[in-house]
């Protein structure tokens, strides 16, 4: 049997869902720069890409690009529900794929669309990379969210987490 979170192997995941909202995070969110993200082309599927001054910011951008598939404008998604989880992986690229897959799974299982993301990344070098994440959103509503395709899973195709010039980039292809 696999563990309850469903992700085994080198990725460890720990969940706490629908906890009360805390002011500290909201304050940090307001202080942060606008999320920068885009989608890129890949055969039958879609690539998602985020940019930022840190890997965590680039991860947030990639999450926005992912949920732009489910809601035309992720920033219009109401933050009615909050999900929190923690992940661990051996590398930043593995961490990105695990992060996006966790969001896809949560969205698909609980029928949610997310529009607001918080990410904190620690570790690296000799130890594993750890990620703490919060995602806020609401039940998916086809009338308001204008989706075209439902993501099936994040892949290692075209995966890249790297610092280019003065900013971080986090990207991979999502199977849709």
């Amino acid at each position: 049997m696999m563990d309850a979170g469903g992700i085994a192997g080198m990725i460890r995941v720990h969940h706490t869902a629908r906890l009360p909202f805390e002011g500290g995070w909201a304050a940090r969110l307001r202080a942060e720069a606008r999320v920068k993200f885009e989608q890129f082309e890949h055969g039958a599927d879609v690539g998602v890409r985020g940019f930022g001054s840190t890997p965590a910011e680039a991860f947030r951008g990639a999450a926005h690009a992912l949920f732009a598939l489910l809601a035309e404008s992720p920033s219009s998604v109401r933050p009615a529900v909050e999900e929190r989880f923690e992940l661990e992986a051996t590398g930043l690229e593995e961490l990105l794929v695990a992060y996006l897959n966790e969001l896809i799974s949560l969205s698909d299982t609980k029928h949610l669309v997310f529009g607001d993301f918080e990410v904190e990344i620690r570790g690296g070098a000799a130890s594993a990379w750890r990620l703490s994440a919060r995602a806020r959103g609401e039940p998916f509503d086809p009338e308001r969210h204008e989706s075209t395709v439902q993501p099936k899973g994040a892949t290692y195709t075209a995966v890249r987490v790297a610092k280019e010039a003065d900013r971080w980039l986090a990207q991979c292809v999502v199977d849709v």
Partner: protein
Amino acid sequence: MTAFREVEPNVWELPATGDMRVPGRIFASRELIDALDEKVREQLANVASLPGIVGAAYAMPDAHWGYGFPIGGVAAFDPDQGGIVSAGGVGFDISCGVRTYTTGLKGEEISEKRETLAHDLYRTVPAGVGWGGAVRLTPDELDQVLLGGARWAVESGWGESSELARVEENGCMKGADPSKVSRRAKDRQLGEIGTLGSGNHYLELQVVDEIFDAVAARAFRLEKGSLLVTIHCGSRGLGHQIGTDYLQRLLPLAGRDGIRLPDRELACAPIRSPDGEDYLGAMRAGINCALANRQVIGALVRRVFARHFPKASLELIYDVSHNTCKAEEHVVGGRPRLLYVHRKGATRAFGPGHPELPEEYRAVGQPVLIGGTMGTASFVLVGTAESERRALSSSCHGAGRRMSRTQAKGQWQGKALIRELSEKGIIIKSHTAKGAAEEAPGAYKDVEEVAAVAEAAGLSRRVARVRPVACVKG
């Protein structure tokens, strides 16, 4: 990288160089090979380097850039030679496939009620992004689905038991092990049985336009003008989560097992290993999920027809699966060998006489259903004796994309496209106009060319061309 060279008409070889254990082989016309994405060649070479691969790494005429394997990729592995099973070689939408029914009606018989019928199908079969199907299951019931496949569906009142022989594996994939499927994967599926999903999935009303092979057409009960219904969908959230789970689990094992992975998406494990067996058990459960899903949708479609055309009689032609790894016996080097054949965006195409075919098709071969686009034709083909020698009894699965979704959205406007198709006599029922634009017929390769090449290369033979009259898009 070395270029493909044409070794026979429509058969191109990529010689084994570097880490490749076998050559790559693609079935394509000059036009298709010239338009081929460079990435397909790279991915084919990567697949050819995996342990235990037999014969060649194959690509079908509709091949395009996938993840790990190209879409339209076929590769067989020998468990006795250290052969592997790859989660990436099957993909996320496990056993995504196509089933087609004859309806006992002629296309012109529905002309006046076409809009009503299309609307009722759109209303009755849940499609598009969103959640909630016709069936809500408990976790125990879902385990029964994963063990029983289409047989579970029939036993639960969805369809006829006579249909099962016309589904691969007689509707029930053996060796499925629901205990190897994570709780998360099951949670994603509890309300999803009987849903089409989104993307390129569809439900289509089609009319037979042209017959190429009268004998096979008679066996499949196809006549010019007959109305058909085709369903294209897969294993939904459960299959996607099995793919995600096992890709993560198998990825770090390659080093331990001494396997060099040229692409992380090829994450795999030896067939004869606990990890390989666990994946096979879970993947087979995913196949059963997809078979049950299409069986339930077929029964929903039958109900819709009964409401509008009491004399209609929906009879299954066949149900093919695209994204699978199956243990099959193939003759290689003059002797039969048990091989684990990965087909990623490719269709099994057994030739005449194969023992797994239902009796009524045994003389002609297995129906091969190639889905076109919502504005172009689809094809019914039949497996040939030659297809065994060509590519381990495999053929193509669709037109294959030639343009990305982003490009397509830039080039076509959903609403204008739907209007244009309606002027051509094709009703489109889509939950999203933008989604329709992403699936624009022009974003795909020419299905006529793909089907013609599949025949010219000896992979399968054309039986009939069908044209769409109404399409419910996911």
